[in-house]
């Protein structure tokens, strides 16, 4: 067999769960990949693992896999995911037990370890100096780390930090021609699929404002790709699924979060996208070809998580009715006066509904607005400072413009992500097997 079908069942930690089940149930898909790892799940996982060595996997693991595992097994569809987060070994055990409990006795689970390079942190070349406590350091593994699990026939492969595209290209390794451009194509397929709905019409609008309908967004199908030995592929949707796949949706996703399009670095291969071609060959079906390899990086990217003391306090108060915009503006100015001892770079005050997103580049404000919200964010060294900001906003209900209310606030812990590089030969990977009872 010189082609394989891979699909995306999740493009971020909180993504919808039912598209993966639909793709696995179709019987067309050899592997469904779930990209679920984010700083916001990895960091709590690292903290949890400190006190409990069995903790640290993605907390959504059960919710995601319980409906998927029986369907995937019945259809011969492998599940590949970075749901292992800060603890892929424990995740492998959890998945095997879960599989046993949902009728998948004998299911083989491979946990791929080695991304956690905290013990090698001193050998990481950090891009910039940082202060604060390093919570964890994770290297981006490539598809080669998953090869054993694929070749040995794992039903589920669970990892920690792996390049998102490698969750897809790993499945393709056994069918690819032994040439760098074939691997480049397979990696490009992974890059196109890894953000789920972003290649099928999500986060997409035509110049005239045309986009999918509310129902189509609500039922958006996730993508699949039929990939050939030379690394070329057909990107599409399941028959009847909602969405839009064309050269424009593919091009936007191809270049998404890419810096130099002629040199996109992944752990397995440096990609040149400048010669990629997209050709519509059917309804919601696009043929992709022309990805080229520009060598293999000698170092792997490392993400480090640095815990810093303090919070960002993010607080809002709303105004409605006649003169709402005027009252909101006065409230914002009153807060500027009350908080004038704050460092300007640690404080932001603006109006939600007017300029809170694009600031001075916002479109002109309306003269009248039915309602407006005043937003304040402040970098606070500790909880007491955060409370002072929250209280200042709340005080406007009594001592500010008329009718201030609908107050909400949140505190975000201060977390910095630092990038580094590590020589790839220092990163040793290991595959640990579990079997569902």
């Amino acid at each position: 067999m010189n082609e394989r079908v891979v699909a995306c069942g999740a493009g971020f930690a909180g993504d919808r769960t039912e598209p993966a089940v639909a793709l696995a149930a179709s019987g067309r898909v050899h592997a469904v990949a779930l990209e679920c790892l984010a700083e916001r799940t990895l960091v709590p996982g690292l903290r949890a693992r400190r006190s409990d060595p069995q903790a640290g996997a993605d907390p959504r693991l059960r919710r995601r896999l319980r409906p998927l595992l029986p369907v995937a097994r019945a259809n011969g569809c492998r599940v590949i995911s970075n749901l292992g987060a800060a603890n892929p070994r424990a995740a492998g055990l959890q998945i095997a037990r879960l599989a046993g409990a949902c009728g998948c006795s004998g299911l083989r689970v491979a946990a791929v370890l080695g991304d956690d390079v905290m013990a090698l942190a001193a050998q990481v070349e950090w891009q910039e100096p940082f202060s604060g406590e390093l919570l964890g350091a994770h290297a981006y593994l490539g598809a080669d780390a998953l090869r054993e699990a694929v070749v040995e026939g794992a039903d589920v492969i669970v990892t920690g930090r792996v390049a998102d595209s490698a969750l897809f290209s790993a499945e393709l390794l056994p069918i690819l021609l032994d040439e760098a451009d074939a691997l480049a194509g397979a990696t490009t397929v992974g890059h196109l699929l890894e953000c789920s709905g972003q290649v099928t019409g999500g986060n997409f609008e035509m110049p005239d404002g045309d986009s999918l309908s509310a129902r189509e967004f609500a039922e958006l199908g996730f993508p699949l790709a039929r990939v050939f030995a030379d690394g070329s592929a057909e990107i599409g949707l399941l028959d009847g699924a909602s969405g839009r796949v064309d050269a424009l949706t593919c091009t936007l996703q191809l270049l998404y979060e890419v810096h130099d399009p002629g040199s996109y670095i992944t752990p397995d291969v440096i990609l040149d996208f400048t010669g990629v071609k997209f050709e519509q060959i059917g309804r919601n079906l696009v043929r992709m070809s022309g990805a080229r390899a520009r060598g293999r990086p000698r170092k792997l990217k490392v993400s480090g998580f640095v815990e810093q003391p303090g919070f960002v306090a993010d607080v809002e108060i709303g105004y409605a009715g006649t003169h709402a915009l005027q009252r909101g503006r006065i409230a914002a100015d009153a807060l500027r006066l009350r908080l004038d001892d704050w460092q300007p770079e640690d404080l932001r005050i603006d109006l939600v509904g007017v300029d809170s997103t694009l600031g001075p580049a916002s479109l002109p404000a309306p003269n009248r607005a039915p309602e407006v919200r005043v937003h304040v964010s402040a970098r606070c060294a500790d909880a007491e400072m955060a409370q002072i900001v929250e209280d200042e906003v709340y005080s406007l209900t009594l001592s500010g413009p008329a009718g201030g209310g609908s107050v909400r606030s949140e505190r975000r812990p201060s977390l910095a992500v630092v990038d580094g590089l590590i020589p790839r030969e220092l990163v040793r990977t290991e595959t640990v097997w579990e079997q569902a009872p």
Binding site: E39, R40, Q198, N203, F204, E205, M206, P207, L248, T251, L252, L254, L255, Y256, E257, V258, H259, D260, P261, G262, F273, T274, G275, V276, K277, V312, D314, E316, D346, L347, R348, D350, V352, S356, T357, L358, G359, P360, A361, L363, H375, S377, A378, R379, R412, S414, L415, A416, V417, D419
Partner: protein, 101 residues
């Protein structure tokens, strides 16, 4: 001419770097954008909203322009003082809503 009448776009981010993609709908639109939306023009527009320096990449085969702004998101997306998280998803409208002669 509004940039967004000729092209579609999307914002992305990696660490402290913002990346903006524009894809023109046809060759004429691409040539117009390629000549008018220079690195300096984009930098001037983006500097109203964010720190950092924009670098442009042109991909004629895909009718695409990329603007990569290093230092645009100091401390990364979680360190933002914007309301909520991920304001940068809307940053592409700084370019889409740009009017150029």
């Amino acid at each position: 001419m509004r940039v967004g009448s000729l092209a579609i776009g999307r914002s992305g981010d990696k660490g402290g770097t913002l990346d903006l993609t524009l894809v023109a709908l046809d060759d004429a639109g691409y040539r117009w954008l390629e000549s008018r939306l220079t690195e300096a023009v984009a930098q001037a527009a983006l500097a109203r909203v964010m720190p950092g320096q924009a670098k442009r990449y042109a991909v004629p085969g895909l009718r695409a322009l990329k603007f990569v702004v290093s230092g645009a998101l100091p401390g990364g997306v979680y360190a933002t003082l914007h309301a909520g998280l991920h304001w940068q998803k809307a940053a592409i409208w700084v370019l889409l809503d740009l009017e150029l002669d």
